[in-house]
């Protein structure tokens, strides 16, 4: 029983989910209440996780569950961004009539799944967490069920994700078959010699994970799902599953498969380069902002994988820093998107931004900052994210990866600039509403100031992240 104090956060959130569910069933019209309660429970959850984060490394439940610096940090940014996602979306789901009790509960259960994924140290535990989060996500994607695009995206995500889960599972069973264990550490010990079985296992597992992280060539679902889902769910998609998947990526590559880095390094480099280039090129022609951000997130995932490809602590840390800054940028971007509202209708095409700067100087300025940051122009936070990654990549003399990545940023800069052009240079259109809920405003303010002022004290995140050592 002494193990249970360490998984207090997970227990707490499971109990909350069940309570909310019961509460929602027995009390009518309690959607808003549950939404707020869920948000509060996320704050408590964050406090519980931070409370445990001083611990160095603890194995639980027969080594199948692991708390270490990596999982603590990832859980903190996961739950932290979850809070902001809930804050920004609260008004949106009311306006488009999605305010049902299932919505916050699904988000909580998906977060629970991700937490299990992040902490798992065993193939079976990992798969359990993965499926919990995926199941919640399928429903979330199609949550706006009267909308054709939303149902399509839910179905599409379900079919493709099920396929990738199948591949992942196949990879897991191969790995188990050849290394005789499902425990990550045990797999590492047992797989000392090269054999094709484990190699195939790695490939299948990587494919499944690359799907979750929407890296090329397993990205096909991302644009449709991003566009079709309700915007608040898109924001969720853009941030939280990426954090969890990246964390699992790190875990898989550097625990069970650590000794086989010559096998997977090429795969990661390829996925990384392909994502960077594809994300940059394919976004150019997009007209829908959500679709565009889907492609942009594909290329951003490419950069964070580039850090992983280095097989060095520096690289892992740079990836984690990258995803931390990436999530802030996405929060800021989507906060801006939530502000494009007129007569209870949300606008999400690039053309709708035309001439925004004349009537909404502050909103446009925030967008300007976010877009330049996404493009990686100094002195904004996005530049530092890329800088750390390339610092790690060049340390390992992977010049090709670095140069391709940097050239891809130039291509990507084009489409970010195009949005800025439309905001600042084009003739103005009708005004948008200016009254927004407090949570949205706070999120936008915090994230924009973070991006803008990051250069003043850039070592903050680095210092925290530098504790995460996998090798």
């Amino acid at each position: 029983m002494e193990n249970f104090q360490y998984i207090l956060p997970e227990i707490f959130i499971s109990v909350s989910i069940m309570l909310f569910l019961l509460f929602g069933v027995f009390k009518k019209n309690s959607a808003s209440l549950i939404y707020n309660l869920s948000n509060i429970s996320l704050v408590i959850l964050l406090a519980l996780i931070i409370n445990l984060s001083s611990l160095e490394k603890i194995f639980l439940f027969n080594n199948s569950y692991l708390l270490d610096n990596l999982s603590n940090y990832m859980k903190i940014i996961l739950v932290g961004s979850g809070i902001f996602v809930m804050l920004t979306g609260s008004k949106y789901i009311q306006v488009i009539n999605l305010n049902k009790i299932e919505y916050p509960i699904l988000i909580l259960s998906s977060i629970l799944g991700m937490m299990i994924m992040i902490s798992s140290n065993d193939l079976i535990v990992f798969y359990m967490g993965l499926e919990l989060q995926s199941l919640a996500l399928y429903v979330l994607a199609s949550f706006n069920r009267d909308n054709l695009l939303s149902t399509e995206s839910g179905l599409k995500y379900f079919v493709l994700s099920a396929l990738s889960s199948g591949l992942l599972l196949y990879g897991c069973s191969l790995t188990y078959g050849f290394s005789e264990s499902t425990n990550f550490d045990q797999i590492l010990i047992n797989s000392t010699e090269f054999n094709y079985g484990t190699t195939f296992g790695i490939v299948f597992i990587l494919v499944g994970l690359a799907f979750k992280i929407s890296a090329v060539p397993f990205h096909m679902w991302a644009p449709d799902v991003y566009q079709g889902s309700p915007t608040s769910v898109t924001l969720f998609f853009a941030i939280l599953p990426k954090i969890a998947a990246l964390s699992v990526f790190i875990k898989f590559l550097y625990t069970p498969f650590a000794s086989m880095n010559d096998q997977w390094q090429t795969i990661i480099v390829f996925i990384s380069i392909a994502s960077m280039i594809f994300g940059a090129v394919a976004a150019i022609g997009q007209k829908n902002l959500k679709r565009l951000i889907a492609y942009s997130s594909i290329s951003h995932m490419g950069y964070s994988l580039a850090g992983l490809a280095t097989v060095s602590n520096q690289g892992i840390q740079s990836s984690i820093t990258y995803i931390s800054i990436y999530l802030v940028m996405n929060l800021a971007f989507f906060s801006c998107l939530f502000m494009l509202k007129r007569n209870d209708k949300y606008y999400e095409n690039i053309e709708d931004l035309s001439g925004l700067s004349k009537k909404h100087p502050i909103l446009s300025f925030s967008l300007l900052i976010v877009l330049f940051s996404l493009a990686g122009i100094p002195p904004l936070a996005g530049f530092f994210a890329k800088f750390y990654v390339f610092l790690a990549v060049i340390e390992q003399s992977m010049y090709f990866l670095a140069i391709v990545g940097l050239l891809a940023t130039v291509v990507a800069a084009f489409y970010y600039l195009r949005i800025i052009k439309i905001i600042y240079f084009d003739p103005e259109k009708e005004e948008f509403e200016t009254s927004h809920n407090l949570g949205l405003k706070i999120t936008l303010a915090i994230s924009t100031i973070f991006i803008l002022a990051y250069f003043i004290y850039p070592s903050g995140i680095t210092e925290i992240v530098s504790k995460i050592n996998m090798i």
Binding site: I377, F390, I394, V410, A413, F414, F425, P458, T462
Partner: protein
């Protein structure tokens, strides 16, 4: 010297910009914002003059150095100046108030945003010339793209979007390779601190590639042939003030970079690639001069002449002689003043007549005599007449070139003749001749603020043309030091080969 004078110089304009951001002004006029901006930029100018006054001109070390921990453990925020950079800092702080005064005429809408952009721009430009760490340098170097992109794009002419994109993407493309090089330097030597790098030196085997990466960035920014094509577009479409900033300061970042980084850090590679730079510079000088001859748009003509003048600068730097480098620095300062003045002059007539086409003008001398006089001074400065700053720069560069390579110098001298040709022809067509266009007759002569800005530029052009000593004095020991280090490194590398 505990007072962080350089950081104050860098940050003051940003503080001013923030101040403007939060002040409310009666809609449309923005008088108060303008005064705030002017006040801040003048204060900055005075601060930089004070800096020049207390600056020890005989020392070869970096002065007023500030070194603070920044990126935990491995990169420091380090700024400092020597005799070379101080001149560029003063040039920047001198040009900015002039830009802010001239804002009156050219910028009609969103004045407040424009002033903020200019002040932020000033921060970045001063930062570039002060930074003594490669990463800090890169940060300022690239950050300048954002305000400039907005200046061209929001307040520019008809094809502003195209030009703004071209400007941004060209420069960014050049710079990313420099970022790779900077990071590589960090891993090769363990530091990006420029002073330490001067001491440590970089191994010969890495130098060529690193030099090329830096070159790709500086060549775009200079701009050198064949990557100069963004410049005419950007100049033509930018508002007058934008062109002034672009021509007089932004282009100098690259020239400064060549001296500080290319020569300073990679002497062996610089020696190796000298011929390449010579050839590109000569093409720039001759080819763009010829192109300038055929231009019908005044701004475009001046833009091409800028490329030619910058060709002289790169040529002078890579002669690796005391005269050549001093001449290049002098030429950069002089070009900063003269091209700013020329663009302002074009702005004067453009604002009155709304066209930049040369053939729409003619005979301005009888309508606007004062304008004709100042414009003549600037024209003569641009073609390098003795008595103006333009002459001293070109003369020294050619002297340096003759010492190293007579053929190169001969060809470059042709550029001087061509320069005289296009500038005088421009002057003849605009100012002299009969008034063919009757609309011109209603044009008024210079207004007070135009007299202020233009005479503020005439004075240093003539003063330093006759008496270059103060400027020369300041750069002499630093250039000497740069060359000593350069030759020392070269000899060492030759010795190690034998």
């Amino acid at each position: 010297m505990n007072f962080p004078i350089l950081s104050s110089l860098i940050l003051l304009p940003t503080i001013g910009a923030l101040f403007i951001l939060f002040t409310k002004s009666s809609s449309g006029k923005y008088q108060s914002s303008k005064y705030v901006a002017l006040f801040i930029s003048l204060a900055n100018f005075l601060l930089s003059l004070y800096l020049w006054y207390v600056f020890d001109k005989n020392s070869i070390d970096f002065q007023f150095v500030e070194n603070r921990e920044w990126l935990s453990g491995f990169i420091n925020y380090k700024v400092g100046i020597d005799g070379i950079s101080i001149l560029f800092v003063i040039l920047t702080t001198f040009i900015t108030p002039i830009c802010i005064i001239s804002v009156n005429a050219t910028i009609k809408n969103r004045l407040k945003d424009f002033l903020i952009a200019i002040l932020i721009m000033e921060t970045f430009m001063i930062g570039v010339f002060c930074s003594l760490d490669l990463v800090v340098f890169y940060l300022f170097f690239e950050a300048g793209l954002i305000p400039m992109f907005l200046i061209i794009g929001i307040w520019g002419g008809e094809r502003r979007v195209y030009s703004a994109f071209k400007f941004f993407l060209y420069t960014l493309l050049g710079s990313v390779l420099m970022l790779v090089a900077i990071i590589s330097i960090y891993w090769i030597t363990g530091t990006t601190d420029v002073e330490k790098l001067y001491e440590l030196g970089i191994k010969a085997e890495y130098q060529n590639l690193l030099w090329l990466a830096f070159f790709s960035s500086f060549a775009v920014k200079t701009p050198m042939w064949p990557v100069h094509t963004w410049l005419p577009d950007a100049h033509v479409e930018a508002p007058t003030v934008g062109s002034v900033l672009l021509a007089s300061i932004l282009l100098k970042m690259a020239g400064y970079g060549f001296i500080r980084f290319s020569i300073g850090l990679f002497p062996i590679a610089s020696e190796y690639f000298t011929m390449l730079v010579y050839i590109l510079s000569l093409i720039a000088i001759i080819y763009t001069s010829l192109v300038a001859l055929m231009q019908e748009d005044m701004k475009k003509l001046i833009a091409y002449s800028s490329v030619a003048h910058m060709g002289f600068v790169t040529l002078g730097i890579f002669t690796m002689t005391q005269q050549g480098i001093e001449g290049s620095i002098f030429q950069m300062i002089s070009h900063g003043l003269i091209s700013a003045a020329l663009f302002l002059s074009v702005g004067v007539v453009y604002e009155r007549h709304h066209t930049r086409l040369i053939n729409k003008y003619g005979g301005l001398v009888s309508i606007m005599p004062r304008y004709a006089i100042v414009f003549m001074v600037f024209t003569l400065g641009a073609l390098g007449l003795p008595g103006t700053t333009g002459f001293i720069g070109e003369f020294l560069i050619l002297m340096g070139a003759f010492e190293k390579n007579i053929l190169v110098a001969m060809i470059a001298s042709l550029g001087v003749i061509l320069g005289a040709a296009y500038m005088l022809w421009l002057f003849k067509r605009v100012v002299f001749g009969k008034i063919n266009n009757q609309e011109l007759k209603s044009m008024k002569d210079l207004k007070t603020f135009e007299i202020i800005t233009l005479s503020a530029l005439v004075i240093p052009i003539l003063f330093f043309g006759f008496y270059p000593e103060p400027l020369m004095n300041s750069i002499e020991s630093s250039v000497e030091n740069t060359l000593t280090m350069y030759n020392f490194d070269l000899i060492n590398s030759l010795a190690s080969k034998d």
